[in-house]
């Protein structure tokens, strides 16, 4: 049934079976695992795909654009003898590509002879530099209590209808290299931005494009777009293509690169779909057992290495189905990334922007990028104290809802007031407000000063003496 010709890559005419985006191609010889193929339909249209499994005389191929329009007899599959590569070049900044890395902005193919494998290779742990330089985002809930470092992967966990796009855009717009509190502003070294969209609506991509244009960043941005109406299977490649460019820029061109991936939940769905079509044994909620390793193969492409001054910082965005943080996508992401910024529904309802739910949020690398010689000496303990006080507020609120606010003790009343002020003055800031680190610290101390000194056990007595502004005169 199939006929094989070898000529500029082996070609097989006709396929054995088509199921969803998966084709079983019979008759190829010496096909390699993970090889790229070109699939030609009966009208001569070409789409790309790749080999997921090879056996004797057959190969299982995944068509990135799906199988619509392919027929058993009229399909030709050409094996290209190499894994999927994309061109990489500095001039790709300022350009827009599709989910597989081909230009869609009307411009030419990037002029370069550098091609890189989209799968990348694992960074040797001995070659890494541990991240220590913080990025000032101008957002108190990040800089103050969930500090982001260069070379960190820190996702935004959000939900449908919440302003994660605005927050990501604000971070991208305001991000500069952090300085000591009180140091004069300098021209921040600017980030190159690699943006990948997976399955988001066109207006989301548009929003980012506008925001990059307005902030004058557009020439520093490369966009890889696989939108909601683009083929879902292509989504498997989109973040990898984006990261491949990011690695080139960071490790060969020594740039600081900020990678925004949205929406990883859509990526996960595409992976699940392929796995289900192939009849693999699922683990949780139909996701394949290798979801963790698959996500790690992208998230771990973050960091710094000793042979380059550059860095890759990743901000993946995930909308949590039903706001459920235990759903496999946010769950396994959280197990790989170095913390998470969680957006909260209630804060969003209350009109707080950005609605960062501080308690479930965390930056694991924060401890290494703040404090003495980095931000300010008291910063780590100040942060712990704010956390502890706000956590206590939650208990007090629960109690107040049972016995009524009037019945609360004096101290608990103060916690209630602290909590409200924390949300309105610390968490809340405008989309255009770019706070310095000293401003963030100052607001924090002002809020802590609403509490009796005795409650502040996480900061030192010396720090209380310097920064405490409350009316509690005891010591």
């Amino acid at each position: 049934m199939s006929e094989v010709t070898v000529q500029g890559g082996q070609e097989v005419v006709g396929v054995g079976r088509i199921e969803g985006p998966i084709l079983v191609v019979e008759g190829g010889a010496n096909v390699s695992y993970d090889e790229v193929v070109e699939i030609q339909d009966s009208r001569g249209q070409i789409r790309r795909g790749r080999v997921l499994e090879v056996g004797e005389g057959f190969a299982v191929v995944q068509a990135f654009a799906g199988s619509t329009g392919l027929s058993i007899d009229g399909t030709r599959v050409r094996f290209l003898g190499t894994t999927l590569h994309i061109p990489v070049a500095e001039e790709m900044l300022g350009r827009i590509f599709d989910g597989l890395g081909s230009p869609i902005d009307g411009g030419p193919e990037p002029l370069t002879d550098r091609y890189a494998d989209v799968n990348g290779q694992p960074i040797n742990p001995t070659a890494r530099i541990y991240p220590r330089d913080y990025i000032q985002t101008g957002i108190s809930t990040i800089d103050g209590v969930n500090t982001l470092l260069r070379g960190q992967k820190l996702p935004l966990f959000s939900g449908a209808g919440m302003p994660h796009d605005q927050l990501a855009a604000q971070i991208v717009r305001q991000a500069t290299l952090g300085k000591l509190a009180g140091a004069p502003p300098t021209e921040g070294e600017e980030f190159a931005i690699v943006f990948a969209a997976m399955g988001v609506k066109n207006d989301v991509a548009d929003y980012f494009r506008r925001s990059f244009t307005e902030s004058g960043a557009l020439t520093r941005v490369a966009m890889f777009l696989n939108l909601a109406d683009d083929p879902p299977v292509e989504r498997i490649v989109t973040p990898r293509a984006a990261l491949t460019l990011a690695e080139y820029l960071a490790y060969e061109r020594e740039m600081h690169v900020l990678v925004v991936l949205t929406d990883m939940t859509n990526y996960g769905e595409a992976l699940r779909q392929i796995s289900n079509v192939r009849g693999e044994v699922p683990s949780r909620k139909g996701y394949p057992g290798y979801l963790y390793s698959d996500l790690a193969s992208m998230y771990e492409r973050t960091g710094r290495i000793r042979t380059s001054k550059g860095s890759i910082t990743q901000i993946p965005i995930l909308t949590m189905p039903n706001d459920d943080i235990t759903h496999p996508m946010p769950d396994l992401t959280g197990y790989i990334t170095e913390g998470q910024i969680v957006l909260g529904r209630e804060l969003n309802f209350a009109g707080i922007y950005p609605p960062v739910a501080v308690l479930p949020s965390l930056s694991r690398l924060m401890k290494d990028g703040i404090g003495k010689n980095r931000t300010r000496d008291d910063h780590p303990r100040w942060g712990a104290q704010l956390y502890a006080a706000y956590a206590r507020t939650q208990d007090v609120r629960a109690l107040a809802s049972v016995i009524g606010e009037e019945e609360l003790s004096d101290v608990d009343q103060k916690y209630l007031k602290f909590g409200r002020a924390f949300e309105r003055e610390f968490v809340n800031q405008s989309f255009t407000e770019n706070r310095t680190i000293e401003r963030t610290l100052e607001i924090g101390w002002k809020l802590l000063s609403m509490l009796p000194k005795k409650e502040l056990t996480r900061v030192t007595l010396d720090e209380i003496a310097i920064y405490y502004k409350g009316d509690d005169a005891s010591n």
């Binding site: 010889a29 010496n30 096909v31 390699s32 695992y33 993970d34 997921l52 499994e53 090879v54 056996g55 004797e56 190499t82 894994t83 799968n119 990348g120 290779q121 694992p122 960074i123 040797n124 742990p125 001995t126 070659a127 890494r128 541990y130 991240p131 490790y251 044994v281 683990s283 949780r284 290798y290 963790y292 390793s293 790690a296 193969s297 771990e300 492409r301 960091g303 290495i305 235990t326 759903h327 496999p328 959280g334 197990y335 790989i336 170095e338 308690l359 479930p360 965390l362 690398l365 401890k367 712990a384 956390y387 502890a388 956590a391 629960a398 109690l399 049972v402 016995i403 003790s409 005795k454």
Partner: protein, 589 residues
């Protein structure tokens, strides 16, 4: 050295099938494809063999050859292990970096232990000695303070016919000759051991000496014994890695084996950059000089992740055999179990729970069974303690890896998301955790500190569980409804939680608490409670106790009183006496 034994017929991720099963053995190491990637035979059926490949298979073709080696997957053992960092199949990562740059490429082959480096070797046997497997033949200083005891392979025995004079030797130079039956065998400092086979010992001893970790919630409340096994399950971001790093830094073990199994690259880098600069309080030497690192991070090949656990435990057993106390950290055993699941899935094996293969429990049992405090073949005693992190999906402890692990460990440190969110660290929940070593290690505490640790510890636990009951009531009606005696319990448990249980791993004074500091702090808090209770019972309002300045002093003591200034606790106790004494006097009726 290796002949073609088969031809590849099928490839899916890390799993490859080939024809030619007749020429290989189960669990034999093979070289796969034109690039000769390392793999291991994991199944034989008819003419087919199934191989798991320890490197990325992209680009591999059907029809490509498979070469046999005749050997099982093994590790190299000898001086030079300490301070090394390996991948899951013991390839030295620094050499890979030197040869290939910052990214790990395929096909890297390096000796795990340097063949060039010379060690000053001194023989401990003489010609004519009868030696049995495991016997110590001689010693070489592996670091300034660590004596590497060179042992005869456990499977060998015989009569010494020649010994090398004291001098500098590489690991492949002969250091002795041995007559085994009719054969004469040359012995070097290097030996190989198949990773999936536990190294033998004479017999197990009871595990009744605690592994002191310097972490108060562990040592004081949920101790693990040397030679014991502990599991530390918790959702993401709850503190598994920080706790394991703290144990790796401060535990009173002579050797640390740290396995980063399917976790983050940066975490291994952190250890690599930090440990050489931290000083081991016991030897005064950098912590790195007692550490072996295995790093098979989440983005490295998944089959090698499966092997990493075995590579680590075999190295740990080897140092145990020399008579050392070894502590092994595995972060995370869940990623190892997932590697098993991934390979099993590709083999289309019948899954049991959540896609895991039915042999998951068996493999976990085999791993934890390799912990122990033992009499070695050579008459020394040593131990391997295992601390395994578990990463349950969604933080749900009812999942298979957590549940099966619980069957094979005796110490359970349950991390709790809500404690972590409130930044109560270590976020180990004191009500859900347990240690079955409590009674066993009681005698050690008595001997070491002269104090009845267990009674005090149990008293503190009683107060904490009382607190949990009382806080249910407080949630419903507020604290004012409780009698002062019960509110006194809450005052004390706040001190226990904030002053004792919370411990900041990143703060220099607090990161490590000596046994003496731990027991003094415990004693002090309980003393505060007894004095306070007596006064409250006389009718003093609770807020007078709450407002005593000494409360703040006690909470801050963990980071203001260093391990060297234990006597300062006497001063704090005096403050309690003085301040409580005043109240007592006021309410004497």
């Amino acid at each position: 050295m290796s002949d073609q034994v088969g031809t590849i017929t099928w490839i899916s991720g890390p799993v490859v099938r080939a024809r030619g099963s007749r020429h290989v053995g189960m669990l034999e190491l093979v070289e796969v494809g034109a690039d000769r990637l390392v793999g291991e035979v994991i199944g034989l059926k008819g003419d087919q063999m199934t191989v798991q490949v320890y490197e990325e298979t992209a680009g591999m073709q059907t029809g490509a050859p498979i070469y046999g080696t005749g050997l099982p997957l093994s590790v190299e053992l000898g001086p030079g292990l300490i301070q090394s960092i390996y991948d899951g199949v013991q390839r030295p990562l620094p050499l890979i970096e030197e040869a290939m740059g910052s990214f790990i490429n395929r096909g890297a082959r390096f000796d795990s232990i340097s063949r060039e480096k010379k060690w000053r070797y001194t023989s401990r046997v003489k010609v004519g000695d009868e030696v049995k497997g495991g016997a110590i033949l001689g010693v070489a200083m592996e670091t300034d303070t660590l004596e590497h005891r060179v042992m005869l392979n456990p499977d060998d025995s015989g009569t010494i016919t020649w010994v090398a004079p004291s001098g500098d030797y590489t690991v492949t130079d002969p250091i002795a000759k041995l007559k085994m039956g009719k054969e004469e065998k040359t012995v070097t400092m290097l030996q190989r051991w198949p990773v999936r086979r536990a190294r033998p010992f004479t017999n197990r001893r009871p595990a009744n000496i605690p592994l002191i970790t310097g972490q108060r919630i562990l040592d004081t409340f949920f101790p693990v014994a040397k030679g014991g096994a502990a599991g530390i399950p918790g959702p993401f971001g709850s503190g598994k890695t920080v706790t394991q790093h703290s144990i790796a830094k401060w535990a009173d073990a002579e050797i640390i084996v740290y396995i980063g199994c399917g976790e983050r690259g940066n975490e291994m880098t952190e250890v690599l950059q930090e440990f050489p600069h931290l000083v081991d309080p016991r030897t005064g030497r950098p912590l790195m000089e007692r550490t072996v690192l295995i790093a098979n991070t989440s983005n490295m090949p998944v089959a090698a992740r499966e092997a990493s656990i075995y590579t680590g435990i075999t190295i740990a057993e080897y140092y145990r055999d020399m008579g050392y106390h070894v502590a092994l950290m595995a972060d995370s055993t869940s990623r190892w179990a997932e590697a098993l699941r991934e390979v099993s899935g590709r083999l289309e094996e019948m899954p049991a729970e959540e896609g895991y293969p039915a042999y998951l429990a068996g493999r976990l049992a085999e791993f934890y069974e390799r912990a122990g405090y033992v009499d070695n073949l050579n008459g020394t005693q040593g131990s391997v303690s295992i601390v395994g992190a578990v990463s349950p999906p969604g933080g749900d402890f009812s999942e298979p890896v957590t549940q099966h692990t619980k069957r094979f460990i005796r110490c359970f440190w349950a991390l709790d998301k809500s404690l972590a969110s409130a930044r109560h660290f270590p976020a180990i929940n004191w009500l859900d955790s347990y240690s079955e070593y409590l009674e066993d290690v009681g005698a050690w505490w008595r001997e070491k500190t002269g104090k009845d640790w267990l009674t005090m510890r149990n008293r503190a636990m009683e107060l904490l569980s009382e607190e949990s009951r009382l806080s249910q009531i407080v949630k419903l009606v507020g604290p004012d409804a409780l009698p002062y005696t019960e509110r006194m319990v809450l005052e004390t448990t706040r001190l226990i939680r904030e002053g004792l249980l919370q411990q900041n791993a990143t703060e220099s004074v607090d990161a490590f608490s000596s046994v003496e500091k731990q027991i003094r702090m415990l004693e002090l808090v309980l003393y505060f409670h007894e004095r306070g209770m007596a006064i409250v019972k006389k009718g003093a309002p609770i807020n007078l106790i709450h407002d005593l300045p000494v409360v703040d002093t006690i909470i801050r003591a963990k980071s203001t009183v260093t391990n060297e200034e234990i006597t300062r606790f006497d001063e704090i106790q005096k403050q309690i006496d003085q301040q409580m004494g005043q109240l007592d006097a006021e309410y004497r009726s």
